[in-house]
Symmetry: none
Subunit: 266 residues, 2 copies
C-alpha cells in the first residue's frame, strides 16, 4: 500500500494532535488537583493516568508510522510501505489498559461508597477488557469472516457495559443535584458517541473497494481512531474535572467556589 | 526551494528562541502559583499548558526544519529542500489547541462566577477553533483564489472574537479597580497586536514575486509566526501572571503584598 503525500500528512498531523491533546490534558489534570475536594482527586489521577498511557502509545504510533511510510524521492512523492509493519497492536494494548480505567474514573468521580463503587466496577472492568481482547483478532485479519465474527463477539460486552452504565449506574445517583446528574448524563453520551466511532472505523475494511479497502480507508480509520481517543480520553478527562469541580463547589463553596464576591452580580 | 545559510540560520535561531521562551515561561507560571490567590491559579495553570503545548510543537517544528533543509557540502552552501516536507500542519494543530485556551486563561484570570465565565467561553472557544480550522486550507494551498477565500472566511470568527473581547467582556469588569482594568485593556491590545501578525505572514505568498513568493517570504513567515507565538503565549502568560498578582495584592495585601515595607518607597 502507498499513501499520497496529503494522506501521509493528514495521518501524521492527527497523530501529533493526539500526542499534544493527551499529554497536556494529563498535566492539567495533575496540576488542577487542588481545585477539587480530596474525595474527587482520585478520579483526576486515574484520568491523568489514562491520558498518560495514551500519550506513550501515540509517541510509539507516531514513530512507527514515520518508519512504515518513509518519504519518497521528493516531498510530493507517494509514501510507500517500507519493510517495517504499521503495528495496530499499540492501539489495542492502549485500549486494553485505558478503557477499563476510563470506567474506573467515571465511577470514582461519583464518590460513591466503597461497596457501591465495587459493585459497579466488578461488572464494568472485566467487560471492558473483554471487549478489547475480542476485537483484536478481527482487527489484524484481512478476511471478512473472522473480522465480522470477532466484531460481533466484541459487541456483546459492549452492550452489557451500556446496560450497566445507563441502568445500574443511574440507580446509584440518588441524592446528586440536578446539575450533577445532567453532567453525568453528558459524560455517558460522550462515552457512547466516541466509542461508537471505533466499530465504524473497524468496519471500513469490510466495506472494501478501492477506497475503504485501501489507502483511503486506512487514513479514515487512523483519523477516526485518533479523534475518538482524543474525545474519549482528553475531552472526557476535562469533563470529569468539571464534574468534580461542580460537586466540590456545591459541597464547599467557601473553599472551592473562590470567585470574587463582587463578581456574583454579573 | 533553497535557503541561503544565513536564511537557514535565521529561522533555526528563531525557532530555538521560541522553544526557550515558551518552555521556561511554562515552568515559571507553574512555580509562581503560590504568589497569587487560589482563585487566580487556574489562569496560570492554563497559561502554562498553552506554553507547554507550544513548546512541544516547536520541538517538532525545529526537528522537521532541520530534516527538510539539510546542510549543503560546506557551511556556506545553500540548504536545499530535501524529500521531507516542511510541515506547516504543526502550527495549525498548535493554534487549534492553544488559541481557544488563550481565551480560557483570559477569562479565568478575571475570576468571574462560573455562570459569567461560561457565558463568555461558549462564544469565545468555538469562534477561536473555527478561525484556525478555516485558515488551514488556505495555508497549504499555493493558489491565490483559495488562499484569499479561506483567509476571508477565517476573518469572520476573528471579528466576532474582537466584538466579544472588547464589548461583552468589558461589561463583566464592573467592580475591578482602575489598575486592573488598565492591565486587562493592555492584555487585549497585546492579543490583538500579536494576532494581527498571523494574517500578514499568511498573506506573503499572495504578494508573490521573487522575494515574498520564495525563500525570503518563507523566512519572514516563519520568523513572523514564531515571534507572534512568543508574544501571544509567553509574554501574554507573564501579563496574565502580573494581572493575577495585582488582584491578589489588592484583595489580600497581608498575604500577597509581602515586600519589605521599605521597598514601597523605591
Amino acid at each position: 500500500m502507498s499513501l499520497s503525500s496529503d494522506q501521509f500528512s493528514t495521518v501524521y498531523n492527527v497523530l501529533s494532535l493526539a500526542i499534544a491533546s493527551l499529554m497536556f490534558t494529563a498535566f492539567f489534570l495533575l496540576l488542577a488537583q487542588g481545585r477539587v475536594a480530596p474525595r474527587y482527586r482520585n478520579a483526576l489521577i486515574v484520568s491523568a493516568t489514562v491520558c498518560g498511557i495514551a500519550t506513550y502509545h501515540y509517541f510509539r504510533i507516531f514513530d512507527n508510522f514515520k518508519e512504515s511510510y518513509p518519504p519518497g524521492e521528493t516531498v510530493d512523492a507517494a509514501h510507500m510501505l517500507s519493510n517495517i509493519e504499521f503495528n495496530e497492536g499499540y492501539r489495542y494494548v492502549d485500549w486494553f489498559l485505558t478503557v477499563p480505567l476510563l470506567l474506573v474514573e467515571t465511577v470514582a468521580v461519583l464518590a460513591l461508597t466503597q461497596a457501591a463503587s465495587r459493585r459497579l466496577l466488578v461488572k464494568l472492568v472485566p467487560a471492558a477488557a473483554l471487549m478489547i481482547v475480542l476485537g483484536y483478532p478481527g482487527e489484524i485479519t484481512l478476511e471478512t469472516g473472522p473480522r465480522v465474527f470477532w466484531g460481533v463477539l466484541s459487541t456483546l460486552p459492549f452492550l452489557y457495559l451500556l446496560y450497566v452504565l445507563f441502568v445500574e449506574l443511574t440507580r446509584a445517583l440518588d441524592g446528586k443535584s440536578a446539575q450533577v446528574r445532567a453532567q453525568i448524563s453528558n459524560l455517558r453520551w460522550i462515552l457512547l458517541a466516541s466509542w461508537g466511532v471505533y466499530p465504524i472505523a473497524y468496519a471500513f475494511p469490510l466495506i472494501g473497494g478501492d477506497f475503504f479497502g485501501g489507502a483511503g480507508g486506512f487514513v479514515l480509520r487512523q483519523t477516526g481512531y485518533s479523534i475518538a481517543d482524543i474525545v474519549a480520553k482528553a475531552l472526557f478527562g476535562i469533563l470529569i474535572y468539571r464534574l468534580a469541580r461542580t460537586q466540590s463547589i456545591e459541597e464547599d463553596p467557601q473553599t472551592y467556589g473562590g470567585e470574587h464576591a463582587l463578581r456574583t452580580a454579573v
